[in-house]
């Protein structure tokens, strides 16, 4: 169904025209359909912002065309375009002496007369937009008084007040903490469910994009673009290859990027029944500390999680030495003080290792409840 496609680009090349054209990506065929939330992702410098700026008409394409509601974007006057497409930018908003209501009311710009006086309809749309992003409580606050997360909601409400069919946001979650990021994504997702509207946003936070987007547009460093449901892109291995770089790799099982720490050794992790949640987080902590979790008994290090009374005890055992900890933090802190297992195996005998460990144990290690010396 062609009428469902709100924004599309054909044979689009984007880039800059300085002295000679610098092509960032070419031969792009893009479709944005009504009712969907699309996340544009890609490593830094791949051209996310250039693509966004080109699609919203702030930058000329090098070649090719963009169509908004079936009409070439070039044929729109700025005002006509603003009625179809609204934008939330990354640039910070510095105005302070203006009430939130009036900032959102600026979204009615393309709909009001020369003086910007609001009709009753306009006022209703402004209030509706504030409600839609959950910012109705901010209506009469001044912009100078509210937090960054609240400002972002206000700017989204302003975009909504333009009553667009396409809402484009350039990194709306940048500078926000995780709960606010999630909230903004939830709002955008609900906005995209409105009939006849689509939301396109660029985002750095892959995990969030994968959990929220209906479709992903992925642009890699070479300007090559991939499209599809997040899960398809994962299975095709596109996601991992686009972002792969030293020290970071994509964990296909978890669906996130992890910092691959230098591997320090391996450990066996066991736990009694009822400690499943603790095991998940202990595993994460151990991986973070550089220990691979293995099932077999090749390694001599064992970590066991058990409950005693109301509290959880992590017991660590290596050869004959055994320690108990009352938190993951103190366990990891202890692991960090251990010499690298691989190197130790190469360079030291087991006796030296034992001596070294006992010398460490003699030092005060916070968090240790019981020390059972061999």
């Amino acid at each position: 169904m062609k009428d469902e496609i709100l924004l599309y680009a054909r044979d689009l090349s984007i880039g800059y025209h300085d002295n000679f054209p610098k092509v960032i990506a070419e031969k792009l065929e893009l479709d944005l359909r009504a009712g969907e939330l699309v996340c544009l992702i890609g490593p830094n410098g791949a051209g996310k912002s250039t693509l966004i700026r080109t699609l919203i008409g702030m930058q000329q394409p090098l070649s090719g065309s963009i169509y908004l509601s079936g009409r070439d974007l070039k044929d729109f006057t700025p005002k006509e375009r603003a009625k179809k497409l609204s934008v939330v930018l990354t640039s910070p908003v510095t105005v302070s002496h203006l009430r939130v209501f009036h900032v959102v009311a600026l979204g009615r710009y393309p709909h009001t007369g020369w003086s910007g006086v609001l009709s009753e309809d306009d006022k209703r749309i402004v209030s509706f937009s504030l409600n839609a992003v959950g910012a109705a409580g901010l209506t009469s606050r001044f912009m100078g008084e509210i937090s960054d997360g609240e400002k972002q909601k206000v700017m989204i409400a302003r975009g909504l007040a333009q009553d667009p069919s396409v809402l484009v946001l350039d990194e709306p979650t940048a500078f926000l903490d995780l709960p606010h990021k999630v909230e903004i994504m939830r709002i955008l997702r609900s906005l995209s469910r409105h009939p006849g509207r689509a939301v396109l946003l660029s985002i750095h936070d892959l995990d969030l994009a994968m959990r929220t987007a209906d479709r992903i547009w992925l642009i890699d460093k070479g300007g090559k673009m991939f499209f599809g449901a997040p899960e398809d892109l994962v299975l095709q291995g596109v996601l991992s290859s686009a972002f792969e770089m030293g020290g970071v790799h994509f964990d296909i099982e978890k669906g996130t990027f992890i910092i691959a720490p230098e591997e320090r050794g391996s450990a066996v992790l066991t736990g009694e029944a009822g400690t499943e949640v603790e095991l998940i987080w202990t595993r994460r902590a151990l991986e973070r500390a550089g220990y691979r979790i293995c099932a077999d008994e090749v390694t001599s290090m064992r970590i066991d999680v058990c409950r005693s009374g109301g509290s959880v005890i992590w017991s660590w055992q290596n050869g004959r030495s055994r320690l108990e900890f009352n938190s993951i933090g103190s366990l990891v802190q202890h692991l960090r003080t251990l010499p690298d297992m691989k190197e130790q195996c190469k360079e030291h005998t087991s006796i030296e290792l034992l001596q070294q460990e006992s010398s460490i144990l003699n030092e005060c290690v916070p968090g240790i409840e019981t020390v059972i010396m061999p």
Partner: protein, 359 residues
């Protein structure tokens, strides 16, 4: 609804403040007529203006030919500089921008410096004497020189800004023009006759002491530009969110930017040509209005700047003429000396937004 009541309260406060400042403006205007080296009582002033005064002809001359044009020039001059400053602060989103940021005053200064310092004329003394010695041209020469100087700088800025995307670049270009021109002026001053330098520096202090012929040009030009500025309120409001947002909301940015620059040029250029570079009002009055009216909405700020700017210019003019004495102080010194504490108070007093200023 909560938002509605706030909006209504805002409207009431703005209305009350506008009325208060209008009354203050009227009082300042009358005081500027009444007070001076010769105090002329209010009822006499009134009957002189009404045209039914019978008595001392010199008093009639003082009021009709000196003080009335001066008060009108101060009203329009103050309003023009304040609105020009407001527009520049919004366009450049820079709280330090003023009506002269585009190099208007430095252009005018160069024009006047060339005429006064380089032109012939043997006798020294004050500017009027110097001008008389230059014969036929008189003050019209200085006005034209100032006008041509500021127009030349503006043409360059306009020409450049048509091709430049970044507004910050225009700001920096304006500043750089200013530096280059003032260095040229410094060189001219350095090699000039001290009497001429004195005459020139008197011009740089600024004054509202102008005649009817000049007022008859200043008033229509600034009135039209002030109206234009008010008509630009909506795009100016959109610019508060930044150029990108303004464009995305359907504003034709380049056209609006040219309109704002031309309006500013007319406002600041006309005042500078006739009254010289007057410091401070352009940067201070917009901040004062934002702080007092607690809004950034240009539909309120433009009229507010007109009234408050006019009022402060009249008060400064009054103080500069030191009522009861025949001495006068340099106008720019007065505007800064009495205006700075007001702005410092506004800035330090802060508001719900914390200390400091913002646009």
């Amino acid at each position: 609804m909560k938002g509605e009541t706030h909006t209504r309260k805002d409207h009431h406060r703005v209305l009350i403040l506008i009325v208060l400042f209008s009354v203050a403006f009227c009082i300042s205007f009358v005081l500027d007529l009444v007070l001076g080296s010769v105090d002329i009582p209010f009822h006499e002033t009134f009957s002189i203006i009404m045209g039914n005064y019978v008595g001392d002809a010199s008093r009639e001359t003082i009021i009709m030919d000196l003080r009335l044009p001066r008060a009108i020039a101060a009203s329009f001059g103050g309003a023009a500089l304040s609105v020009a400053g407001l527009q520049m602060q919004t366009l450049f989103r820079n709280p330090l921008a003023d009506s002269y940021i585009l190099g208007i005053s430095s252009g005018a200064t160069l024009g006047v410096a060339l005429v006064v310092l380089l032109a012939g004329g043997t006798s020294g003394g004050t500017l009027p004497q110097l001008l008389r010695s230059m014969g036929f041209f008189g003050s019209a020469t200085v006005v034209s020189a100032a006008f041509l100087g500021s127009a030349a700088v503006l043409m360059i800025v306009l020409f450049v800004s048509r091709r430049i995307e970044s507004t910050v670049t225009i700001l920096i270009l304006g500043l750089m023009f200013g530096y280059v021109i003032s260095s040229v002026v410094t060189v001219l001053v350095h090699f000039s006759d001290p009497d001429k330098v004195k005459a020139f520096s008197e011009w740089t202090f600024g004054t509202f002491d102008i005649r009817w012929t000049e007022v008859s040009i200043l008033v229509p030009v600034t009135a039209v530009a002030l109206l234009m500025s008010f008509l630009l309120s909506k795009p100016l409001n959109a610019l508060l969110l930044g150029e990108g947002y303004a464009m995305s909301m359907g504003m034709n940015f380049k056209r609006i930017r040219i309109a704002i620059i031309i309006t500013t040029a007319l406002l600041a250029g006309a005042v500078t040509a006739f009254c010289g570079p007057i410091a401070f009002l352009g940067v201070a009055v917009p901040h004062l209005c934002r702080g007092v009216f607690v809004t950034a909405d240009h539909r309120i700020l433009v009229p507010a700047c007109i009234i408050v700017g006019g009022c402060l210019a009249l008060l400064s003019d009054m103080i500069a003429h030191l009522p009861g004495s025949s001495l006068t102080l340099p106008l720019s010194a007065v505007t800064s000396m009495f205006g700075a504490p007001v702005v410092i108070w506004v800035v330090l007093h802060g508001s719900r937004f914390g200390r400091g200023v913002s646009i």
